[in-house]
């Protein structure tokens, strides 16, 4: 299934071996229901088209702020999200649109958030990096690298405190493994036996800095070893491998009440954000990313297996296109939040002397 780092095992190669994820044990699609496979394919295609539309809307200035896309990570996103039960919680970083879709949030509400509309998943208060939905149990995208980890272990603490059986999944990028919050959180999660699965999406680059240049242990799945936490590396380009590895760890976290670390080796098809042309990449690296396009690979596999016929392919493409267009239309036609709501969400419990002063107002209103 994947490389594993048991707490007491493991070699110590100082060069990253991310490219050498074992392919010999790729899950066989013959073991899967065609319906399931087509569903994964459709979800991956939806993320791809949604993100392409997002990039377009960004360049048309319909979307503001920073905008990080899941292009190239579709297999990882769909594999991870299908491994979770509905009651499980998810924390992510700022590259999260696909996760919101994968957690079951309607594309309309995700796109409306990107457009900053009141119909958005965070009512237009969060934007691209800060999506949240209580019902879907997406407990936030977070814009500060590593900020979501302490929160995720806290959510797992609440679950554990109440004797619940939910699991918390906490997604992050490869660069996050070097910040203090990562180590503090893994340590506490291991000490307190918290049901959390940390997932590192290793796309080889934190903005433009490589894993080898930033991590003294570039085999990131081994970085839980200091906390006796089992780590697993999986080929993030293979939706079935990701789902299997993640589901195994999620269910073990639930049953054994302990944390795990999963590394999904993935590729970022574009730059760090929409505006990044990724000039730091060599043409070979860009070619490698394209050659590892998970959507194209999955499409080929399903076609070769006779599961995805030309007719089905066209049908799915058309329905995804309609869904994305509908989402963008919905966003475009949704209202912006009213300025009169500006002070609605500063405090949950109203108290005297809260300020509702506009910039040019006097401190003491007459």
């Amino acid at each position: 299934m994947a490389d594993t780092a048991k707490p007491k095992g493991g070699g110590t190669a100082r060069t990253g071996s991310r490219r050498r994820t074992r392919k010999d044990s790729t899950p066989d699609i013959a073991d899967e229901q065609p319906k399931t496979l087509l569903d994964y394919y459709r979800q991956m295609l939806l993320i791809r088209r949604f993100e392409e539309r997002t990039a377009q809307a960004y360049t048309q200035a319909r979307i503001g702020g920073y905008c990080h896309l899941n292009l190239g990570e579709e297999a990882t996103v769909v594999g991870l999200m299908t491994a979770l039960q509905e009651r499980d919680y998810l924390f992510t970083n700022y590259r999260e649109h696909g996760y919101a879709l994968g957690k079951g949030i309607h594309p309309r509400r995700v796109m409306a958030e990107l457009y900053g509309r009141s119909t958005g998943v965070s009512k237009g208060w969060g934007g691209s990096m800060h999506m949240f939905d209580t019902e879907a149990r997406l407990l936030g995208g977070y814009g500060i690298v590593g900020g979501q980890l302490p929160l995720a272990i806290g959510a797992a603490l609440a679950v554990s405190y109440r004797g619940g059986d939910e699991v918390v999944m906490c997604q992050m990028g490869d660069g996050t493994t070097n910040i203090g919050a990562f180590h503090e959180s893994l340590n506490i999660a291991a000490l307190w036996n918290l049901p959390v699965v940390f997932v590192v999406i290793n796309n080889f680059t934190g903005m433009g800095t490589t894993v080898e240049k930033s991590s003294a242990e570039p085999d990131l799945y081994k970085r839980g070893s200091a906390y006796r936490m089992e780590g697993v590396r999986v080929d993030g380009q293979d939706v079935l491998a990701v789902r299997n590895a993640a589901a195994d760890l999620v269910e073990r976290a639930r049953a054994e009440q302990q944390p795990f670390l999963l590394e999904a080796v993935s590729y970022r098809l574009k730059g760090h954000s929409v505006v990044d042309p990724a000039k730091y990449r060599t043409s070979e690296q860009s070619e490698e990313a394209k050659a590892n396009d998970p959507l194209a690979a999955f499409e080929t596999r399903l076609t070769e297996a006779g599961i995805l016929t030309d007719e089905l392919k066209q049908e799915i493409a058309e329905s995804v296109r309609e869904e994305v267009t509908d989402a963008a239309d919905f966003a475009e036609n949704s209202p912006h939040p009213e300025v009169s709501t500006l002070f609605d969400y500063t405090y949950a419990t109203p108290v005297p002397n809260e300020s509702s002063r506009m910039p040019a107002d006097p401190v003491f209103a007459e």
């Binding site: 208060w125 969060g126 407990l139 936030g140 609440a158 405190y161 503090e184 000490l191 500063t346 405090y347």
Partner: protein, 332 residues
Amino acid sequence: MSVITYRQALRDTLRAEMHRDENVLLLGEEIGVFEGSYKITEGLLKEFGERRVRDTPIAEEGFVGAAIGAAMLGLRPVVELMTINFSLIAIDQIINHAAKIYGMFGGQTSVPLVIRTPGGGGQQLGATHSQNIELFYSFIPGLKVLAPSTPAEAASMLRAAIRDDDPVLFLENLGLYNTKGEVPDDDTTVAEIGRAAVTREGTDITLIGYSRMAMVTSQVAEKLAEDGISVEVVDLRSLRPLDRETIVESVKKTGCAVIAEDDWLTYGIGAEIAASIQEGAFDYLDAPVRRVAMAEVPMPYAKPLETAAMPSAESITTVIHETLSAVGRRVG
């Protein structure tokens, strides 16, 4: 009425709130087995067990963040930070997460969290352990900052903080833990967050303080009363939200004001108070608003230097006399 210490008031309140609400749990360094660096949590591990009184590793960012995450799921954690200086290690979680989560996600989840932590100085702890940086948190919308100065207030304000659905930075003070005061028996008073209090009425001058300085200002006022000077004392109690009305109403009555603060003067809490007074009571002011604040140095260890750097009853008294002299109302 019973006379108890500020420390005892905090401990009794924590204990009662834990009995009242199963969702209240304590997290912090050395709060369990060691019973707290300042013994606020003495006896609580024995009474409530490890599930609800949780010793943490030395990892402020990690355990403050964990408390925020637990609060998002409806627990009501009370975190102890050994001193406010160590909050700097958790500041990303406090400012970028605790203070933002309610607004940033459109009001979908609140963060009912209390961070208890003492400020102070005067304990010869040197530069990194003697800072009063409550201003950092008072600056941030989304946080509430409370600074009780008496045992009764410590109890009623801690009760309010725990029951409030927002993150509250609850400022204690090393110099207050052993101070005593009357607390009603079987007290269940819940203070109103966001209100200052006029703790002593007077007519000659308004003297404003909070936390330890609210205690010192009361003592100064009492002493000056013997000389026939009538000082009105305002205890801010809540640094965010800030009760400007109470301050300004007092200054309108007295015509002049002195602010006593344990933090540094430049950009400090007193600067905001002074700015509020000039905007709210400009026509009533008979003298410049003066501030008595910490000398602007990294706090030295040596006792004479430390003592000289800190505001004191004497320095406050001097500035009150100077201000009254400037008004021309009275020369002390």
